[in-house]
Amino acid sequence: MGPFEYFEPATVEEAVSLLKKYGEGAKILAGGTDLVVMMREREIKPRYVINLGRIAGLNYVHLDGDKGLRIGALTTIAGLERAPELKSSYRIISQAAARLATIAIRNMATIGGNLCNAAPSADMAPPLLALKGAVKLTGTAGERIVPLEEFFIGPGVTTLKPDELMIEIQVPAVPAHTGGMYLKHGVKGAAGLAVVGVAAVVTLDIRDSVFEEVDIALGAVAPTPIRAKRAEALLKGQKISDGLIEEAARVTSDESSPIDDVRGSAEYRREMVRVRTWEAIRGALKLAKSV
């Protein structure tokens, strides 16, 4: 590994100015669990490494009533897994966090890192997409908020400009009678990277047994994490029925565009999207009924 020049900015501003100064030659280190592997395998050889780890105030989970949820970009995955704020309405986030890699990785890896690395299989993306999350970026040109849906461009590629950092993840408030479920399908168990990741968030109109709002997001089955919008539209406003859920699962599967790789064939992945979506919607429904 190396050599590189190493920086530890104390503030976001300092980090941004370093990014501006060193541009493409610089890489940001948050938890380091992806970056160090890439450097070790000599996939990337950055000349400058900027560790954000010493910047204070970017590690938080704030629950703010009507305004929703804000997560500091440097919050570790383990922090999310354990956060008391994520035990009810936003349980799907801690659920996904608990499925990400190993405990030793989760203790270092950050939510910002997981999203900015933009792996199609990133475990944190589907639940945050299904919760209609957005990310707050800051750079020389100032701050901007980008819906997560628009943040991912391709495998490893995002809308982040070379001089920008992600500082916060924002999730709108969750209405009553909402439940969410993330299911990760691996080569075996939940170990390793996702072969398929499915997040479903369902808001229920309890009186009429109608899907008031449905959001479905998928990981590892397209160049970026995606939403299954046709399936969402199919369910929204409709009376809940097993047949309809099955249909939505099929449509979700059609919306995915997986490839063959070492973790599974496209055909198997499409099938698992169907199976896991069906399960995730039903699981989310059950939770929605209970809250």
């Binding site: 590994m1 590189f4 190493y6 530890e8 669990t33 560790n51 190993t102 030793a104």
Partner: protein, 167 residues
């Protein structure tokens, strides 16, 4: 390019000068002679290099040396006290949890973190917490047995010997 690195290592302040691209595993092994921490995969997938950083288990092959600057590290060498072995170490011996032994330091360190956080962990919870530590020899049966036995011992000795949380 070498930078000063200060660690509170196994309860003792240590100072070394290393390049920033050295990993914590390399610093421990090559600079500080603590060879108990093993490197097996180099990509954070096997748990052999796990150590505690501020009480939390991390894969030291993925931590850059400066990320550990000024922080508290516990390695396998720091687990026993002058009074004796840690209950996990005793249990690993008694329950035949050791074979080739290359993964064992990482196993014991991860198990300590698991039980520190969850002193009443069930077998399922232990298996989940330990699932990032790979072993090709044992099939994990006796390792799980050892951790469950150590759990009981640790619960009993929490107030007495100071083997409980932290350190």
């Amino acid at each position: 390019m070498k930078q000063r690195l200060e660690l509170k290592l196994n309860g003792e302040m240590r100072e070394v000068f290393v390049e920033p691209w050295r990993t914590l595993a390399e610093v421990l092994r090559d600079e500080l002679g603590l060879l108990g921490t093993k490197v097996s995969c180099g990509t954070g997938d096997c748990g052999a290099c796990n150590v505690l950083l501020e009480g939390k288990v991390v894969s030291s092959c993925l931590v850059l040396a400066p990320q550990a600057q000024g922080r508290e590290i516990l390695t396998i060498e720091g687990l026993a006290t002058p009074e004796g072995l840690h209950p996990l170490q005793e249990a690993f011996i008694e329950h035949f949890a050791v074979q080739c032994g290359y993964c064992i330091p990482g196993m014991i360190i991860t198990a300590k973190a698991c039980l520190d956080e969850n002193p009443d962990a069930t077998e399922d919870e232990v298996r989940l917490a330990m699932s990032g530590n790979l072993c090709r020899c044992t099939g994990y049966v006796k390792v799980t047995e050892a951790i469950m036995a150590a759990k009981e011992k640790m619960k009993k000795s929490v107030s007495g010997t100071g083997y409980g949380k932290g350190r």
